[in-house]
Amino acid sequence: MKTSRGEVFAQLEPPVAGAERLASRLASASGGARGGALRWAAGAAGVAAAALALAALVQVEGRHHRSPPPPGGSLYAAPEFDRLLGRNVEPYKLSVSLNRREVHVVEVPTSDPKIRLYALQE
């Protein structure tokens, strides 16, 4: 058996109508891209509408719940939360027991109103 360079590397003709086929594929690819852009725009509009609706809902709900009724329970009434809940801070009556005997507590004046010093008098 014999072969030659010319035979192995012979230039074969591609199947006919390749250009027409490619033109049709390019057209559908372009159409697909345009359709994809339209689908993307529709999707984006949908997301924007949903976001607007959600924002409106949150605003309406927020208006309804702007002044919530104070919950019951001792935790809410605890004086430790006065400052946090915006209530007026009432002076707290301090009492100290020492060896199971109540001792007298005297507040010592300070120059800084945020600092309170107490002296215990037996």
Binding site: K2, S4, E7, Q11, P15
Partner: protein, 168 residues
């Protein structure tokens, strides 16, 4: 400057490059319809990124894309043969009229991919060493050595199978 964005202009590029591309890809897949599809797939892929392709890099890009697609498809075909149909069934489905005798095809198939790419681009696409180097991303010197090595391997394989090689 980017490549023409017009579909008609793109078809002109295709007409100019279809035959060499088809011949290179055909030596990979040995199926005319499939090879034509791969060539068109390469053009479609390039079409999608046409705005970013420089005119001087288009030919290399489309050949590189076609070679990669052909290589992937060939690998999938091999795998498919292994896991599903027997070789006999596939052969029975193949059209009988083949432009190259089976032993010659097998000898081309037996070449390592890196060498085969260089040889096919050189012999079938008529590319210069510089053009092949641009397609494959290798040095021109490597192109020359791989081409010579590929030809020697091809001749050797054919000789071992009792096929006489003529240079004409």
């Amino acid at each position: 400057m980017s490549l023409g964005l017009d579909e008609a202009q793109w078809i002109e590029y295709y007409v100019a490059l279809e035959k060499p591309l088809f011949n290179v890809v055909y030596r990979w897949l040995w199926d005319a319809e499939e090879s034509r599809d791969v060539v068109q797939d390469a053009f479609l892929r390039c079409w999608k990124i046409r705005a970013s392709i420089r005119p001087d890099g288009f030919k290399a890009l489309v050949f590189r894309t076609a070679l990669r697609l052909a290589s992937n498809r060939r690998r999938r075909k091999k795998l498919w043969r292994m896991v599903s149909l027997g070789e006999d069934v596939v052969e029975a489905c193949t059209p009988p009229a083949e432009p190259l005798p089976r032993p010659v095809r097998d000898a081309v198939d037996a070449l390592p991919e890196a060498h085969k790419r260089v040889l096919l681009l050189s012999e079938l696409a008529g590319m210069s060493y510089a053009e092949i180097a641009a397609v494959l991303g290798i040095k021109e010197g490597t192109v020359g050595s791989r081409r010579n090595r590929a030809l020697a391997m091809l001749r050797g394989t054919l000789a071992r199978r009792g096929i006489e090689w003529h240079e004409d």
